[in-house]
């Protein structure tokens, strides 16, 4: 009890000190508070100025040959564009367009442009003398008349009109889109001209006595529900807010984290702190809470500052004439803000822990700052992904770090979350797990003397390779085990790319080829090569010793007993993550010569190769972690992921844990091989069992298949079948008994595990005394 209080007291001491320390640091204050408070208003001001300029500055436009424009609505009136045909919101444009007139020279060729004149215009635009030139050809009015007459005639005597309509005359528009002002002039004049062209069209219709609506029928009436409930804003906010939140939570966590860890290391105060009796975990938690506080403060300040600036600027913009931006964008709803704050806590906890661990790893603040970019780069897709409308909150996405929580936040803001609330459980649980792992990682960094007293080793690949070989131990190190696992996964990925997909005529021979290659090349070879090159004792590394005499039969029996439960798990997994049916897969085994070949490829080969790699090399290396179950779980995760298909991976991870336990308890790979072989064989045999017609004759003669199936199988859903309770319960009991047998076997402990155990035992004693 006393110990617990001590803990929190120390955490509080560290937290208060760190916060005070950061607050005394001008750089932090600048990054955390000053920057967001001033950055957005400045940005808003600049944006406002730009828009203001765009709205208010006049454009000079040279109109050439406007005399030829006649008939139809007036384009020009009193030296300006006429506003009579313009819609209300465009009427202000007229005041912003300064017109200059010039008569067109008449000595041009009929079809082409007067080139000398065109050059002069180009120059006028290029020099900025005017921003745009509109040229009306001299025959503009005549051609317009022709066109009208043709339209009229066609309407009055439709049967006689066979000639195509003459081309509607149009002015030429010269501008330079590379110039801001010229592009602006273009936009303005284009609006005027197209309104005018519409007016001309309407007039033509009128004169032909056709109702205007014929040319532009109304397609639909619309009523936007979001306009009433504010949901339109929600959609936008749901995308913007999580993005800003996460980015600033990362940035706000990063700089204090670097200062708190790498900075302390650099200034030499970390050693002082670590020689105090505060436990490493107290120190890490204290620092973590500090980093979190800054991360959250930065995120909130940024959101608030940005929100206010945005609203002010929008408000100003909306006052302006001719503004056509996102109209009527309001504040996010109160509930959105509330959920944002709730979600901010786990998000900043996660990133704070990650940043803290990275910063603890860094030797100096400079090195620490190098790590910001990779963190952002990895985080980015995790935030951008949930912005896509195609990505929805499912069990799969809910487990992805950051993505799950951002999707949940999106649902909360959009208001669609309550339809999928059960998914909040995996989101929250997985977020907790990720936070825990990140914190654990940070604590490990603080416990690692290699990290804390890391000297600047001059790294060279050659020296490192020599070091690996020269200083190799009996069994591989943790890093080597992780490297081997990663290598296997990478090879598997590339083999997946290189191999042909399953097609209609995918037969047993193809399957066998792929299976053999992937087992031998992808899984066995890396493990064996690494064993030979990086360890002194292949026998110890790959656990080649024979186990206790009872272990192999017990493992075989355990695999049999576990089978109904594995099937049940399989059914559960496929219900949660429905599996695509692969057509080719059904007939895959048909081409096999006999069942023994199938068992060889599916059961014997993987049992040998995978056990040697995952329970041999990888698990042996991971046992240097000092925690048996952590080693078993990580090796099982590698084993699971190497299966490639999500549904298989989940089951393989569970089975991998069980086999890993057997390997640890018996100190032998052969127990696992036996279990694995039986496990895989049963998967094949069970599918055969369900089809009595495929049984061999002698079996069919003795047993009535249908009747047997009725006893064995329990149909609990349309596609869901598990073994009947009469099988499940006894197997569970026998299985538990077998696990107890394995539990009581005397087993080998790695040095690290033995040390950890004695530390745990001793600290237990101290606590008691």
């Amino acid at each position: 009890m006393l110990n617990k209080q001590m803990h929190w007291k120390n955490v509080k001491l560290v937290l208060l000190r760190e916060i005070r320390d950061q607050l005394r640091d001008r750089r932090t204050i600048f990054m955390i508070a000053v920057l967001p408070v001033f950055f957005y208003p400045l940005l808003g001001l600049a944006l406002f100025q730009v828009t203001h300029f765009l709205q208010k500055s006049n454009s000079k436009v040279l109109i050439v040959g406007h005399q030829s424009v006649s008939g139809g609505p007036n384009l020009i009136e009193d030296g300006r564009f006429s506003s009579e045909f313009l819609s209300d919101d465009a009427k202000e444009l007229v005041d912003l367009l300064e017109l200059e007139f010039r008569a067109a020279s008449h000595d041009h060729e009929a079809a082409g442009l007067p080139t000398a004149e065109e050059k002069a215009w180009q120059q006028a635009v290029a020099s900025g003398e005017v921003q745009a030139v509109v040229y009306f050809p001299p025959d503009f009015a005549e051609r317009m008349e022709e066109y009208r007459a043709a339209v009229k005639q066609r309407f009055e005597r439709p049967r006689e009109a066979t000639d195509p309509l003459p081309e509607l005359p149009h002015p030429l528009f010269v501008y330079d889109s590379g110039k801001e002002k010229s592009a602006l002039a273009y936009n303005r004049v284009a609006r005027v001209l197209s309104s005018w062209a519409h007016a001309v069209g309407r007039q033509n219709l009128r004169e032909s006595q056709i109702p205007e609506a014929v040319a532009s029928p109304k397609a639909y009436d619309s009523r936007d529900l979001a306009a009433e409930s504010g949901g339109g804003d929600a959609r936008l906010w749901a995308k913007i807010l999580p993005f800003i939140l996460v980015i600033w939570a990362v940035t706000g966590a990063f700089y204090p984290a670097v200062d708190l860890c790498a900075g302390e290391k650099e200034r030499g105060t970390l050693e002082t702190l670590l020689s105090s009796p505060a436990a490493r975990s107290d120190i890490v938690i204290g620092k973590l809470l500090t980093v979190m506080a800054f991360s959250m403060t930065t995120a909130i300040l940024n959101l608030v500052s940005m929100g206010f600036t945005g609203l002010l600027v929008l408000h100003q913009l909306q006052q302006m004439p001719g503004f056509n931006g996102p109209a009527g964008m309001g504040m996010p709803s109160l509930s959105a803000v509330f959920w944002l704050l709730v979600v901010l806590v786990p998000v900043s906890a996660l990133f704070s822990a990650i940043c803290l661990a990275l910063a603890a790893f860094a030797r100096s603040t400079k090195e620490g700052q190098y790590y910001l970019m990779p963190v952002i780069l990895i985080t980015m897709p995790l935030i951008v992904l949930p912005m896509s409308p195609a990505v929805e909150l499912t069990l799969g996405t809910s487990l992805v770090p950051v993505t799950g929580i951002v999707l949940m936040l999106r649902g909360l803001i959009e208001g669609t979350f309550w339809q999928e609330w059960p998914l909040a459980i995996p989101v929250i649980v997985s977020t907790f797990v990720y936070c825990y792992l990140a914190v654990r990682w940070a604590v490990d960094q603080f416990n690692s003397e290699k990290v804390l007293f890391r000297a600047a080793d001059r790294f060279s690949l050659g020296a490192w390779m020599r070091h690996l070989f020269r200083d190799r131990q009996a069994t591989p190190s943790v890093q080597m085990a992780i490297l081997c696992g990663t290598l296997i996964l990478l090879l598997r990925f590339f083999m997946g790319l290189a191999m042909p997909g399953i097609t209609g005529d995918f037969g047993f021979a193809d399957f066998a080829k792929i299976a053999v290659i992937s087992q031998l090349v992808v899984i066995l070879t890396p493990a064996l090569l690494m064993t030979v090159m990086l360890t002194r004792s292949p026998r110890k590394t790959l656990l080649l010793d024979l186990p206790h005499w009872g272990a192999v039969p017990a493992a075989i029996l355990l695999a049999l007993m576990a089978h109904p439960w594995v099937i049940a798990l399989q059914q559960l997994v496929t219900t949660l993550y429905p599996m695509q049916k692969l057509e080719g897969l059904e007939r895959m085994f048909d081409g096999a010569p006999n069942i023994w070949w199938i068992l060889l490829v599916i059961a014997v080969l993987p049992a040998l190769c995978e056990e040697i790699a995952f329970r041999g090399f990888i698990l042996s290396g991971l046992r240097h972690l000092g925690h048996r179950w952590r080693a078993i779980t990580i090796s099982a995760l590698f084993f699971g992921v190497s299966h490639g298909i999500l549904q298989q991976s989940i089951i393989a991870t569970f089975v991998g844990c069980l086999i890993g336990y057997l390997a640890v308890q018996t100190g032998s790979v052969w127990t696992g091989v036996a279990y694995h072989m039986v496990h895989n064989s049963l998967a094949v045999l069970a599918s055969k069992l369900k089809e009595p017609e495929s049984w061999p004759q002698w079996l069919r003669d003795r047993i009535d298949g249908e009747q047997l199936l009725e006893i064995l199988v329990w149909q609990i859903g349309p596609d869901t079948e598990i073994y009947s309770p009469w099988i499940m319960l006894p197997t569970a009991l026998v299985g538990a008994g077998l696990l107890f047998y394995f539990h009581q076997l005397p087993h080998y402990k790695s040095d690290e595990e033995a040390l950890q155990e004695s530390i745990d035992a001793e600290s237990g004693k101290v606590l008691v005394s």
Partner: protein, 268 residues
Amino acid sequence: MIHVRDLQKYYDDLSRGRQVALSGISFDAHEGEIFGLLGPNGAGKTTALRILATLLRPTGGTATINGYDVVKHPAQVRHEIGFVSAGTAVYDRMTAWEMVAYFGGLYGLADDVLAERMEGIFSRLQMNEFRDVLGGKMSTGMKQKVSIARAIVHDPPVIILDEATSGLDVLVARALLQTVMQLRDQGKCIVYSTHIMREVEKLCDRVAIVHKGEILASGTLEEVRQRHGEQDLEELFFQLILGNEQGGLRRTDQRPEADEQETERAGA
């Protein structure tokens, strides 16, 4: 107080392979005594003291402080010691008073006890004139005083000082040595590492001469002098180190210490 038996520490170095920082050193230090570790730079003194301060884990051997094993009870060991080394700086953005109070808090001292003890320490070490100066603004001497104050605020029975006078001017160094002697007189067990002979001669009750991770000679200064027939400590030091480098001179104290170790084990 301190029992160190066959303490070993190896590092894996990329280019040079396995490096021996300590190849099995053994020594004892008792209360009311200053035990000196004398050796050139890189001898392994800092590694040994960091192991005692639980900052490093030994590769082999054992070390206990006041009965607590440094590997198995690191937290208890840290309660028993005050550790000052070249690597234990003071915080730049904390005042002297805040710094000492912070560590007092981490050592679990109650506020009233802490305040009282700090007043005592600050006046004894003459730190009152800079109690509100930030670490970043302090002189090296002030910083060293803060470090000492920080290390003794919880009144630990064992104080470990690693090259404590490095970078100090003569006056401050002298004041520090006096403080150390006062602490010894209060009954503390002090382990003091240095490469300066004069400090050893002045300060240490017993000494171990360390070179390349080995103890070449140990005992009271008189014992060491007599055993090697050399009155001048500096000469003695050079002879030992030169001998060790040439491999000619064998460690003379190997047998007695091993015997002592065995008898202690038998006794236990």
